[in-house]
């Protein structure tokens, strides 16, 4: 069966081609929507069958490389379209296609009546194809193809409603911002690949990892390679300092936020590190950096989630924060815990976003939670599933989020340090708080939405919610910690993928069951505390909230405005340049620099550009002079 892994990729691709080319001719939404969804469903079935095949195989034979055809082939450099089927990649493929399938179905209801219906499904299918390429690739270059491809789809989908204004900009600006920030990360990634090619002479996972296996821990080139790859990961997975694009990415349709900006694409960075675990194990310094960035992001983003008023904004910061946990896990060497959290997070965060979509659907696309409330009665299914997902993300046992987050926290404590654990625990408290603040303000407080008549979403939308809700509850049981006396199925499943890396990590075996239970107890306590506090404040004592915001208005404002990061970027980098260019350049040359380039570096380049272009003054003889000078320089270099 594993030979047919290509089918899993081909189905969504066919969906993309057919919907993309003929979608606008097919007038029936149902046909387009179900066709698009079923291609993804089919590819889920393929992945699942391969999974069943792997399970039946002996432990160490669960790894296949399926080569289809050669891509780039030349002296010493052999890259093919070949796919790696192993426990890690097949797990990712199942998550991507499974969650993707549900979100596709949901979109049939959500996108109903949109004039870009076919285009939307075509992009989504393309995204699934690219994402599968990313997770199933057996070499870094093919992975990079997927990496770029998902970025492209993300960009196209963020700007999907290109004419809709979004905050201070249009959605297409948000798309562009996402794309450009990602390019900065990709730059690091690519340089990392060059370095890797230079050092290992190959980009194939097998070759690179088997050479790496023989290297000493602390190898300096590997340090740079892993660090550069991590730069790429911070871009794709929205970590400090490249997280700025993700909140703006919420300008896209909600299913996109659920699929791409919560469940799958943004976890690509985590997957990449997990895949390269052997390399990372060789570079303890990078691991430390990863852990610290992860922990900081977890707390920092969670704190911003506390005060946001857009329902999707809260979830966006929550995603950044949860991704921080995953990186924390990677950084302390708890690779399978990170992947475990990735999996459970895919379920409950997709559920939260879809629930938010259902809420917005009911309230004519209202996003402001100040104008919601009381939806409990009108949207019972949405409310229940949203509540379950909130419990899961807050880490209440025995829901899935509890097991996965707890494992990360335990890893942070036992393999990292107390401080990392503390950051994680603070983040957990904030998570519980902002989630239940959201639940309270959206569903439970008195209605504030005026004359609108909310109604429950149609079945195609609620069904995916229920399925995801089921998994949010149960997915945790596949990874019950061994301290409970049971076998951790999830760890066991992923063990072949990480054993080389684990062998390299010098883990002090501080594994004491009593400490683990105590920490577990503390973290549950923290979560419950956060939940109760949020419910108390927002349901019983709204006046205290108001007072608190008043008393700490400085802090509140600071956090509400996202620590003014965008503004700081703006004043330090963008404004001075803008001032200079407006006052100096415009007067003299009266030209317009191409508008709308988002960040500072781009502006610098474009200003340089608008000056340098005047060298080209149209006079032939000047050109000849430059030519002559060029000759002199060339001859000077040669002799």
């Amino acid at each position: 069966m594993h030979k047919y892994i290509g089918l899993a990729l081909i189905f969504p691709l066919v969906g993309f081609i057919i919907n993309g080319l003929f979608g606008w001719r097919i007038k029936k939404e149902k046909v387009i929507g179900w066709f698009g969804s079923l291609t993804v469903g089919a590819s889920f079935i393929v992945s699942f069958l391969i999974y069943l095949e792997l399970v039946r195989l002996p432990f160490y034979e669960r790894k296949f490389i399926v080569e289809y055809f050669s891509w780039i082939k030349t002296g010493g450099l052999d890259i093919s379209f070949s796919y790696l089927v192993d426990p890690l990649s097949i797990l990712m493929a199942m998550v991507v296609t499974g969650v993707g399938f549900l979100i596709h179905i949901y979109s049939i209801g959500y996108m109903h009546g949109d004039r870009g219906f076919a285009r939307f499904f075509a992009y989504l299918n393309l995204f699934i194809f690219m994402m599968l390429t990313l997770v199933l690739a057996d070499n870094y270059l093919l992975m990079f193809l997927g990496w770029e491809g998902v970025g492209l789809c993300s960009y196209l989908l963020i700007g999907f409603w290109y004419d809709k204004p979004f905050e201070k900009m249009t959605t297409s600006d948000a798309g562009r911002k996402a794309f450009i920030v990602n390019r900065i990360g990709d730059f690091g990634f690519l340089i990392g690949l060059f370095l890797m090619y230079k050092y290992f002479g190959s980009l194939n996972f097998n070759t690179v990892f088997s050479i790496a296996n023989k290297l000493q821990v602390g190898d300096s080139t590997v340090f740079w390679i892993t660090l550069l790859l991590f730069v790429g990961a911070t871009g794709k997975s929205a970590q400090i300092p490249l997280y700025v694009w993700l909140p703006d990415a919420m300008a896209g349709p909600t299913p996109v936020s659920a699929l791409i900006h919560a469940a799958t694409m943004v976890t690509a960075g985590v997957y990449m590190i997990a895949r390269s675990s052997v390399l990372y194990a060789l570079a303890p310094t990078t691991m430390e950096i990863v852990a610290i960035i992860g922990a900081l992001t977890a707390v920092y983003a969670a704190s911003m989630g506390l005060v946001q008023n857009g329902i999707k904004k809260v979830l966006a910061y929550s995603t950044i924060s949860q991704l921080g946990y995953m990186f924390l896990a990677m950084g302390v060497g708890a690779f399978s815990a990170g992947i475990f959290h990735l999996t459970t997070h895919a379920f409950f965060k997709a559920l939260l976003f879809l629930g938010a979509g259902a809420v917005m659907h009911a309230l004519d696309n209202e996003e402001d939670i100040q104008k919601m409330g009381g939806l409990k009665a009108h949207l019972p299914i949405t409310y229940k599933t949203f509540f379950i997902a909130s419990l899961a993300i807050a880490g209440i046992p025995p829901l899935s989020g509890f097991f996965s987050k707890d494992e990360i926290l335990w890893g942070a404590y036992s393999q990292g340090s107390f401080w990392l654990w503390l950051l994680g625990a603070i983040g957990a408290f904030m998570t519980a708080f902002y989630m239940f603040r959201l639940v309270a303000l959206v569903f439970e407080t008195p209605p504030r939405y005026g004359a609108k008549h909310p109604h429950e979403a149609p079945k195609v939308m609620t069904l995916p919610l229920i399925v995801l809700g089921f998994f949010s509850v149960t997915a945790g049981f596949i990874g019950i910690p061994e301290s409970f006396g049971l076998k951790n199925l999830f760890h066991h499943w992923l063990e072949p993928a990480f054993e080389d890396a684990n062998a390299k990590l010098i883990l002090e075996s501080t594994h004491s069951t009593s400490t683990e239970f105590m920490l577990m107890f503390i973290s549950v306590l923290i979560s419950v505390g956060g939940i109760l506090l949020a419910r108390y404040l927002y349901l019983k004592r709204m006046n205290i909230v108001a007072k608190l915001t008043q008393t700490f208005s400085g802090v509140y404002k600071l956090v509400y405005n996202k620590y003014y990061v965008d503004e700081i970027y703006d004043t330090i980098v963008v404004k001075p340049i803008k001032w200079g260019s407006e006052k100096l350049l415009w007067r003299f040359f009266d030209v317009k620099v191409i508008d709308g380039i988002v960040n500072g570096s781009a502006r610098v380049t474009s200003i340089v550009s608008s000056v340098v272009r005047f060298v080209q003054n149209g006079i032939v003889q000047f050109y000849a002079v430059v030519f002559l000078i060029g000759i002199l320089i060339i001859l000077w270099i040669i002799f």
Partner: protein, 478 residues
């Protein structure tokens, strides 16, 4: 090798030249000969392409070692036929649109193609020189083809003046090399290469040849003519000049510098690397602030010359293959992109602003998708050909221990994202101008033009996914 075999070896050139001569006579005999000329040119180019494939396995030189036949030469002959064919398919409607529907256009394209074929297969500097001149003189006229349009005239004059100026230096280079080696044959030079290591005159000649070729590929600082000429020339001709003639110059560049001068020496390669970095930097940076799409593509073509020069600077097997692969990829994407521009363009240089592309993706879905493919490929986005080509070139630099050059290349592509993407953003994410919406019939697309762009896009896609289809022909070139 006997005479007939020699003739068979250069049959692609013969066919194209002969067709050119026949079209000259046809144009003289018939008043409305354009259509006949058009079809004759197409047929002759297809025939020449087939002969290029047929002669591929000859691997030899013809006419006393003056021209290479088979292998390397066949590859280039073939891609020139492809480029010229696409140009001719695109030009018919364009010429009609601009009221310059004269059959001479096809004659010039055919002669220029013949020149390119000689240029990229010359094993003797005399052939290289003749090829360059045949190509350039035809292109000078092509640039000035819209003879009532002052911009086109100006493009022709600038190209001609600077081209002839550069020819002077190129020729002096050839003279010095001849003076120091007593021959102009690259094979002989290559065989006795170690004798010239310390010959001042020889290296002076190499330097001047480098200058001459850099001019033809429009590399900084010998690039100044390119933006003006590409902007002023008729659009399909701009595509032809900026992509196909550039590839021809690169074909000769590789032949002379890597085969003839055995990859030259450290300093020359360093000089090439400097030219390459300058081209990538300046081309991409200036392209950022362009509002005219032809001019933007012109600057982007300067940047692309820089990318391809990386392969020459590293002067290894990978670099050579990179140059060859990128030449083909570049012909497809650049001719395709200029093709879309020529389709969108309206009479008298209108609709050439990047803003005029607003909403194009919704008005003309197919053209929008194809233009996006060209833009993404030019950016170097996988899985299109531009990515694979850049990958080869950058990897060759890493292999040649010039990692800094690869890093500069990656940085340059990073800059280029902005302006290529700007076109895509305009096409998909901007509102359509009301003026265009009210006159939809102004944007009619003929089948031949659409076919040409479609073929280019499909080609980019196929060789991007399956580069081995092309690269396996690189393994044995001579």
């Amino acid at each position: 090798m006997n005479f007939y075999n020699d003739l068979l070896g250069i049959s692609p050139v013969l066919i194209v030249s002969l067709a050119g001569l026949i079209v000259v006579i046809l144009e003289a005999l018939f008043k409305k000969g354009e259509t006949i000329s058009y079809f004759l040119s197409i047929i002759s180019l297809i025939l020449a392409g087939l002969f290029a494939i047929y002669t591929y396995s000859m691997y030899s030189t013809a006419f006393n070692g003056m021209v290479a036949v088979g292998g390397y030469a066949s590859f280039f002959n073939f891609i020139f036929c492809v480029g010229a064919l696409l140009t001719i398919l695109l030009s018919k409607d364009y010429l009609a649109k601009r009221n310059i529907n004269y059959g001479e256009f096809y004659i010039l394209v055919l002669f220029a193609t013949a020149g390119m074929m000689f240029l990229a297969s010359g094993v003797d500097l005399i052939i290289t020189f003749l090829g360059i001149e045949l190509m350039s003189i035809s292109l000078y006229v092509l640039a000035a083809f819209a003879r009532t349009d002052p911009k086109s005239n100006e493009a022709g004059l600038k190209y001609l003046l600077l081209g002839a100026f550069a020819t002077g230096f190129l020729l002096f280079g050839i003279a010095f090399i001849y003076g120091s080696t007593t021959t102009t044959n690259l094979k002989v030079i290559s065989a006795n290469f170690q004798n010239y290591q310390n010959d001042f005159l020889f290296w002076l000649g190499v330097g001047l040849l480098l200058v001459g070729f850099s001019f033809k590929v429009a590399a900084v600082p010998f690039h100044m003519w390119a933006p003006d000429v590409y902007e002023g020339a008729p659009t399909p001709a701009s595509g032809f000049m900026s992509a196909v003639s550039k590839s021809a110059a690169f074909g000769a560049f590789v032949l002379v510098f890597i085969f003839g001068f055995n990859g030259t020496n450290e300093q020359v390669r360093y000089a090439i690397a400097i030219i390459s970095v300058l081209s990538m930097a300046l081309g991409n940076i200036i392209a950022l602030s362009q509002t005219n799409i032809k001019r933007m593509l012109a600057y982007s073509s300067i940047a692309h010359a820089g990318y391809i020069l990386i392969g020459l600077a590293s002067a290894n097997e990978l670099g050579k293959q990179g140059v060859l692969y990128y030449s083909l990829a570049y012909i497809l994407m650049q001719v395709g992109a200029f093709g879309v521009v020529s389709i969108v363009e309206r009479e008298e240089n209108k609709a050439l602003n990047i803003n005029d592309y607003a909403g194009l993706g919704h008005r003309k879905p197919l053209i929008g998708v194809l233009m996006s493919i060209f833009m993404f490929s030019l950016t170097g986005f996988p899985p299109f050909a531009g990515f694979v080509g850049k990958y080869y070139l950058f990897a060759s630099a890493v292999q040649a221990k010039m990692t800094w050059l690869a890093v500069a290349g990656v940085l340059a592509t990073l800059v280029s994202v902005y302006y290529y993407l700007n076109v895509v953003i305009n096409m998909y994410l901007k509102e359509q101008p009301a003026e265009v919406l009210n006159n939809p019939e102004q944007e009619k697309i003929s089948i031949s033009s659409a076919f040409a762009v479609l073929i280019s896009a499909i080609g980019i896609f196929i060789i991007g996914i399956l580069p081995t289809l092309v690269t396996r022909y690189f393994e044995k070139l001579f």
